[in-house]
Structure formats: C-alpha cells, structure tokens
Symmetry: C2
Subunit: 411 residues, 2 copies
C-alpha cells in the first residue's frame, strides 16, 4: 500500500501515460479486428435476411440447417459452446484462453440461424467474436491475470459497440454486464477506447446501422412521470419473462434430447411449422422492419409475446445468434402496445421499451440509457433513464446470462 | 442467504413494488423540498450577482462579509462546517444525523460569498441543502442504517440535479461520488426518482438554467480521436491542479491563521485587492457569462489559470459555495484556449472541458458524460465520453472531496 501511495503521490501521470499508451495500442488492434468482424457479421446477416425473405421456402430447411450447426458445435465447438457465459466465466475465474474458433463458429452459426429462419439476435455473435479475438492478445502479449480481465472487457465492448453503432453504450455494457449491480472502473478507459475504435472501423466497411428517432417527447409532469414508472415495471416483467422462457426451453431441450445436434433439428421442425401455420415471417430473424414499424404505427398487441416465444424457443433449441435484437423487438412492440392505456407518444414508448426490456434481461441499466441516447437522441433521456432503471429493478435477480454474478442486490 | 434467495425466487416483484412505493413517497417529499431549496439558491444567487455587478464597490466589503460568514460558522456552524465531505463521511461511517442548520447556513454563506465577490460555485450549497433536508427524514421515519445511506444519496442527487437542471447526471453523480471507482447500484432507483422530482419542482419556480449548445461536431477520425485524448489529458491535469490548489490554500489558511473567522477576512482583503488590481470582475462569482463566451469566441489563454487561482483561494479562505461552476469555467476556458493547437471546433472543446475538468476533480466520469449530453445534446457524446474518462484517468487518486474513499484504483 505504501509504495502504491508513493507512486500515486509523486507524479501519477507518468504511470497513467504509460498505461494509456499500452492500452491504446491494444485497443487499436482489438478494435480494428473486432470492428471488422462485426462488419462481416452485419454484411452476412443482411445477405442472409434478404435471401430468406426472397426465398421463403428455405425456412422448410431450417431443421437441416440446425442439424449442421448442431453437428459443427458438437464435434468442433464443445470448447466454445457456452458463448457469452463463457466470457463471463473466464472473466470471473480465468482458466483457459478463449479458443479463437469461437469467432468463426459463432459467425457461421448465426448466419445459418438467420438464413434458415430462426429467431435470434446478433450481439451475442459480435460479443463472442470480439472476446475471442481479444483473448488471443493475452497469449501473444503474455498478459497477466488482471490485464486479461481488461482484454475480455475490451472484446465485449468492441463487439457490442460496433454491431449496434453505439460506442458509449458498448463501453458501459462491458463494464456493467460482468457483475450485477457493480461497474468496473479500472477498465473504464480501455473499454471506451476499444469501443470507439471498433465502431469507427466497422463503419469504414460498407454496412449500415438502422436509424431510429424519438422526437416527440412531452415535458415531465407528475402524470408522465407516473406513466414512465408503470411502463418501466411492465418492461421489467417482459425482460424477466424472456430470461425465464429462455432458461425453460434450454433446460427442456437439454433434458428431453440427449444428443445435442438433434435439438436444433426438432426445434427447427417446430419453428418451420409454426411459421407456415401463422403465415408470416415477421417473428423470425432479427425483425428489424417490425422494430422500425413499432416507432411509427399501431401493431398487434401480442407481437411482443410471439417474438418472445419464438426467440426463447430458437435459442433454447441451440441455434446461435444473440438475444439483444429480439429484446429490442419485444420491448419496442410491447411499448407500442402500451399506447392503448398509457397516454405517451408511440415513438417514445417504443424507444423506452426497446432499451428497457434489454436493461431488465441483462441487468445493464446505465448502458441501456446511454444506448437510447445514442440511438434516439437526448430529448427523451429522462424517460429512457426512468424506464431502464425501473425495469432493472423489476426483473428479479437472474437475467439471460446465467454466469453473471450478483455483486449487489437490487434493493 | 437462503431466505434471501427464496424471496428472490418466489415473486421478487412484490418486495420490489413495496420498495418502489416506499422510496417514491420519500423521493417526492425530499425532491420537492430539495428542488425548492435549489430554486431559492438560484434565485438568491441571481439577485446577488446582479447586485454586485451593478454596485461593484461592494467588493471592497468582501473582508467584512467574509468575517460575518466566518463568525456565523464558527459559533453556530461548527457541526456542519465540513460541508460536502461531511455528507461523504456520514455515508461511509454514520454517526450523527446531518443537522438541519447545514441548509440555511450554507445558503446564507453562499449568497454572501457571491454578493461580496468571492469566486465559488453553487453545487456544494445545493448538495448540502439536499443532504441536510433529506437526512431529517431519517429521524422522522426512523430509518435504519442502510436506508439512511440511500437517503443521503437522494439528498445529493436531488440537490445536484435541480441546481443544474440535469436529472440523469445528478442521479449518477450521487452514486459515483461516494466511492472512487465504484458505483452503488442498490440506490439507483431512489437516486433517479429523487433527481427527476427535484428537477421538476425546481423548474416550477421562476428560475432559469443557462442553455448551451454544441452542434458543430466533426466525425470521429483517427486524428480527432487523438485530439480528444490529448484534450482529456490536459483537462485531467487541470482538475488535479484545482484539487491540489484548493487543498494547498485550505492547509495554508488553517496553519497560518488560528482563529477561523479571521481567515475569510484576510482572504477577502487579498481577493478585493486583486480584483481592483486587474480591473475586472470576470474571475469572481459564478462566472456564467465567461462560460457562455467560451463556447463562442476566443478568450485569453490564461483565463482558466486565474479562475483556478481565485476559486481555490476563495474556498481555502473559508468562503462557502461549491467548486463545480468554477470547474465548468476552468474547463470551458481551458478548452477554449486549446483551440490554438488542437484543430477541433471551439464549442466542442469548451463543452468537453466544461465536463471533463469536473470529472477529473470529483472522479465522476459517467455522471459528467451524462451531464454533457443533458446540457449540450447527444451529438458530441463520444467526444465528451473520451474527454471525461481520460481526464478521470489523469487526475491522480485525490480529488476535491478528501473524504472520498478509493474503492478501485484507476489502473
């Protein structure tokens, strides 16, 4: 402690400067690679989605696509099958460097899921590619245990920031997600630098991020304050039901189907039949068009429930992707439905739901508030903040990441 | 633990709902009172500043004004003289309810400081009024130790949010400031609710907050990224010099002048003579006009240094107020000066400095990033984030609040 104190009290800027230079170099490397990986993911998903929507018969092949993904993961991917939770576990109790194969495998699995019509997201893939790329530097640069934790955070931050085009949200997400109810400040600088670099590099590629706008924002009054709190409670319940449904289907498939590659086959049959029965593809894939609609026009009140079901079932069956874009979908459509009894503008409720259901399911209220500001602008900042924090409070103590440690209870 | 777990696993929303209702009621009460107290402060400071600028001879009486403040604090205010640090200390090791007299005394002391021409801020006063008002509820509602910590956070959050009109920044500031390098999530909900209510109530009174705008924001490129980092380093050094200067003058006055009421007398003579010698009042008071100018026109490169000297000397001599508005001034004028060798728009550099020097001196990078977004809009969010985080990293481990505990080193 004394030598530490001395170091701080003499000229603390010298170690700070060395620290900055070291992490700046690492962040430039990881950011450039993770940002490019996210661009490849976005580009591939764009292609897969377009192809599927133009050739809807391909959805009938979902069980086969699922079988391939299942086989590949079963025989080549058992060391990386835990996905996001693996990153969290390595952060908490470091054992093995994340195998690089996590990156190509999750990219392949995600594109297959979306091409054949599973319902999933993409942030899981971006985060896993970022994490797997970043962790290779641990090996190459022979970094110690503490540095490795920062490396994993940079990977998560860079992947998240670049896939959504939201650098500040990505930086804070990586710090918030590791431990429920605590934020890691020792990695703050590296997380921000990695996020900004990755976002910049990703945008150099010919991809585009969807733009949303929330401009119609009423002044805060006692009534709108109350509405925002009520909406936050419902978004929190939505996030909790999503977590519970995903865990439920995952456990169901694991206990009922012993041979892992068969799980997506059975799941794929059910999903393909369900899509055929209801006659629409709006509940599969990323669902970006429906998310955009949720800001502008009235939708079915039950859209959020069907998307919740489709996604938790898809992921439970072992398909790859992520949860976040479906959470955006669930939140935005739930917000859209709330307009029937909460007199707030549709676009505001959709925007609040977009981020708050996600905040509830991942326990990252501050990252989600920042994300709302980065995506929708600062006008509704207070509404977004209330919705995210209240939703966080009402989603219980278990989110979608089962390896998230509870650092501080919510109350 | 087991009974806790059970509670969480059954229906966690029931305790969450009770918790929400309880804190909503408390936040409505504290928020309304703290918001009104901030309005009274803003109104009084407006009056005091106008009167001083119209009757500049009053600055000659600064030593007498200081003597009165010194006497009042010496004989009636010894239990509340530690100010913001007292709130932090009670948070960390609760001993005595904050005496209510902290609120009227700091209001009186701050108005006197500004009326007679000391250089100080106002957030200290708002935060101390908020904290003192809030802590009375500990007594009235017979709250336990954990609840009291939340009460103190609400007081700080409500005071800060309402005096600057920035609810999200206020909410996060109160959570960030208590422990360096850690954010308290268990008080998140209460902090946000208290901040929003206080800000709303404050704006019901006939006061106004200064508006700033940062619209000219270049895209992030490798060069602008580097400029933002360099600016952040300089803002961090600015924040550190301010902390060190304040501690230096405080210690100097304490060791050289044994009778406390004499300290502001001697300090007042020096300040009044200095104002007379340099022939301008732009370095005393809040300095809001100069802050506004810093966004729009070239200023003297040394403005930040003189303001730093005037404010640390004023506060070291025992005058009341706060540090934050002078930190805004120092940051905005330093940013304005940087335009000579960092090719970024003046308004962007001024805005980055405005929040980053403050982030560096108080160790609250996320609150300051949110503050920038609330005050200047979301366009420059990434620049503000980089500046605040880098400045935080470069300000060393001691800020202006000597009672702030180091929870996690910066690197």
């Amino acid at each position: 402690m004394t030598s530490e104190d001395k170091k701080f009290n003499s000229i603390p800027q010298i170690p700070s400067f060395i620290y900055l230079c070291k992490w700046l170099v690492i962040c430039l490397l990881i950011g450039a690679l993770a940002g490019s990986a996210s661009a490849a993911l976005l580009y591939s998903l764009h292609w897969a989605t377009d192809y599927r929507e133009a050739h809807k018969w391909i959805i009938a092949l979902l069980p086969i696509g699922g079988f391939i993904v299942g086989l590949v993961y079963h025989y080549y991917g058992s060391s990386v099958v835990k996905g996001n939770n693996q990153l969290l576990e390595e952060f908490h109790s470091p054992e093995h460097i994340i195998p690089f194969r996590m990156a190509p495998l999750v990219l392949f699995g995600t594109v297959m899921t979306h091409l054949f019509g599973g319902s999933a997201g993409r942030e899981g893939s971006a985060v896993q590619m970022g994490g797997a790329i970043a962790d290779q530097f641990t090996k190459w640069f022979k970094l110690n245990k503490d540095d490795r934790k920062i490396i994993i955070i940079i990977g998560v931050s860079a992947g998240f920031a670049s896939v959504f085009g939201t650098p500040l949200a990505g930086a804070v997400f990586a710090l918030e997600v590791m431990v429920l109810g605590r934020m890691r400040y020792d990695a703050l600088l590296a997380s921000v630098l990695g996020a900004v670099v990755a976002d910049y590099v990703c945008k150099l590629w010919p991809i585009h991020h969807t733009h949303y706008g929330v401009d119609l924002v009423p002044d805060i009054t006692p009534l709108t304050f109350l509405y925002a709190i009520i909406a936050g409670i419902l978004f929190g319940l939505g996030g909790m039901f999503f977590s519970k449904a995903t865990h439920f289907f995952t456990t169901l498939f694991k206990t009922k189907v012993k041979y892992p590659p068969l799980r997506p086959v059975i799941g794929g049959v059910v999903i393909a039949l369900a899509v055929y029965a209801i006659g629409t593809t709006k509940y599969i894939g990323l669902g970006v068009p429906t998310i955009v609609d949720a800001f502008n026009m009235p939708l079915n009140w039950y859209d959020f429930a069907l998307k919740l079901l489709f996604t938790s079932f898809t992921l439970g069956a072992g398909y790859k992707g992520g949860e976040v874009t479906p959470l955006f979908y669930i939140g935005a459509t739930l917000g859209n439905a709330l307009v029937w009894f909460l007199p707030l503008p549709t676009e505001l409720l959709a925007g609040m739901g977009f981020v708050a259901v996600f905040a509830a399911a991942t326990n990252t209220p501050i990252a989600c508030t920042l994300m709302a500001i980065e995506l929708f602008g600062a006008k509704g900042a207070v509404y977004f903040g209330i919705a995210c924090v209240v939703a966080y409070m009402f989603s219980g103590h278990s989110g979608i990441y089962s390896s998230q440690i509870v650092g501080s209870p919510k109350h």
